[in-house]
């Protein structure tokens, strides 16, 4: 065993075959693909009705954007994602002191009701954390004043028995004073089951992790890489990206320590054997570089 790495005593185990999940219903995102364009138009109509923003959206790269005064609604063309924001409330730096944020329990209830009201499917998601948008203001050299200006109810999705990971699988409902809705971030791709695949073990994943060139220049006597946790899940790319399959991954949480820097990080090792060429042929992800370790 390489002395650079410190590994956990126990590793999780998987059955030989793991379920795979498709992350899109479409073969193409072309404007000539009738099924896709029809679905995008339907999504747009539904969101416009639900959030009360009419008009023709602006195209901003991978997003369709509607604005009305201080409110924006973004629809992502490559995933089933959307982002609604009331900019008067979402990222405030000051709030009147008499106004109160909902407590955690109330925030969870309000968030669930808001998702239901807008028809956003959260059946496979659950609340992972309740956090705050915190503002600190310093006048001159005085002691900064701190306030919580909004509360975020953060959901995570699951696919079957395992968590969905990465930036493209989350819900965030932001509530301002008195529970006023300030923002809904809904990043998701509706999954459908695909054929099962053989997974690599956590041990194999760690072997690949340790061979990652990122560690080649670390010297054993000066550095350590301590693996704290190894978790199986499915990776969802940014909502702007096209993704055909949720990528099964071993998520490795580790700390790299040198004399100069301590660095906590997460690295994903793809949990099925797929070369960049295989990934290209399967059109699994938009960027085939993310096929082994990323």
């Amino acid at each position: 065993m390489n002395e650079l790495f410190k590994l956990p005593d126990r590793l999780p185990k998987l059955p030989g075959k793991i379920p795979m999940f498709r992350a899109t219903r479409f073969e193409s995102l072309s404007s000539r693909d009738a099924a896709y364009t029809k679905d995008l138009a339907r999504r747009l109509r539904t969101a416009q009705r639900s959030f009360g923003l009419e008009g023709t959206p602006a195209t901003e790269g991978a997003r369709l954007v509607l604005r009305k005064e201080q409110v924006s609604l973004e629809l992502y063309a490559a995933s089933d994602s959307l982002w609604w924001t009331d900019h008067r409330l979402a990222y405030q730096e000051r709030v009147p002191s008499r106004e109160q944020l909902p407590d955690e329990s109330k925030a969870k209830k309000l968030a669930a009701a808001l998702l239901e009201q807008h028809g956003l499917d959260a059946k496979s998601a659950s609340v992972a954390s309740v956090t705050f948008i915190e503002a600190d203001v310093q006048s001159g050299d005085s002691k900064p004043r701190t306030s919580r200006t909004a509360v975020d109810v953060n959901y995570r999705f699951r696919l079957g028995e395992h968590p969905a990971m990465g930036p493209g699988a989350k819900i965030k409902v932001t509530l301002a004073s008195d529970g006023a809705p300030a923002q809904i971030v809904y990043f998701w791709r509706s999954p459908t089951k695909a054929a099962a695949a053989s997974a690599i073990s956590a041990t194999t994943a760690l072997e690949r992790f340790m061979r990652d060139p990122a560690f080649f220049h670390l010297r054993n006597k000066d550095a350590t890489v301590t693996v704290k946790d190894v978790t199986f899940g499915y990776y969802a790319m940014s909502p702007t990206d096209f993704q055909r399959l949720y990528v099964p991954v071993w998520a490795i949480d580790a700390t790299s320590q040198t004399r100069e820097l301590r660095y906590d990080f997460r690295r994903y090792v793809v949990a099925v054997d797929m070369s960049p060429e295989d990934a290209k042929r399967a059109d699994a992800v938009a960027n085939p570089r993310a096929c082994r370790v990323f």
Partner: protein
């Protein structure tokens, strides 16, 4: 027309584990944002002194007047910590652009992005003591309160938003939210002074840009989950 500079580091020569995507990340920003591309330095040509004020700190080899403070927006992508942006080589100064060595905006810089872990860590409000002195006309410092991922496209997403007329802070928060899970906290620190209103800042040519808060009277720190 705004001017743009980037520095990025993937190779750390054993000073820290290497990274993979900072070239793509910073270049995505550089090649997308509408403006004049002023400089790009990567790996061993990215130096801490490029961000530091001349004559400040120890060693005091700062040359920000030629680089970071000689453009409107500068984007750093690499390792970081509450001790500042961390570089691959340490023989030009000491390999870290330490907070106490930063004085930005006394020449040109309005916005600086540290796309790196923890440079903007709140640290029980010490962020004000640590980084407050860097504001000498600078409007915003944008980054993370926590660790962050080795993203290859956050810079491009940020630039796309700026080009589309989103405010600077909205553009950063949205680029972070699209590229990180909710365990990561985006953060920014901004300054205001009499007659300035940096909260409404946009990229040059895309909306309001506040006058420079040369002598800041207020500083604002905001953070939230991605």
């Amino acid at each position: 027309m705004g001017t743009i500079g980037i520095e990025w580091v993937n190779k750390f020569h054993g000073r820290a584990s290497d990274l993979k995507n900072n070239d793509d990340n910073a270049r995505g920003f550089y090649n997308t944002l509408s403006g004049v591309r002023r400089f790009e330095y990567g790996d061993d040509l990215a130096w801490d002194r490029d961000f530091e004020q001349s004559g400040v700190g120890s060693p005091s080899a700062g040359t920000d007047q030629l680089y970071a403070d000689n453009v409107d927006i500068v984007f750093f992508s690499g390792h970081g910590s509450r001790n500042g942006a961390f570089f691959g080589i340490a023989n030009k100064d000491d390999g870290e652009a330490k907070p106490g060595e930063l004085r930005l905006g006394n020449l040109d810089c309005e916005w600086i992005v540290f796309d790196a872990c923890l440079v903007l860590e709140r640290d029980n409000l010490n962020v004000f003591n640590r980084l407050g002195g860097a504001f000498a006309g600078l409007h915003y410092m944008l980054g993370f309160d926590t660790t962050c991922g080795d993203s290859g496209d956050r810079g491009r997403k940020f630039a796309e938003r700026l080009n589309s007329g989103w405010s600077v802070r909205d553009a950063w928060i949205r680029a972070c939210t699209e590229t990180e899970g909710s365990d990561t906290n985006w953060a920014y620190l901004r300054a205001d002074a009499a007659g300035t209103n940096t909260i409404d800042d946009h990229w040059h040519g895309k909306g309001f840009v506040s006058p420079d808060p040369v002598t800041p009277t207020s500083r604002f720190y905001l953070r939230g989950a991605c």
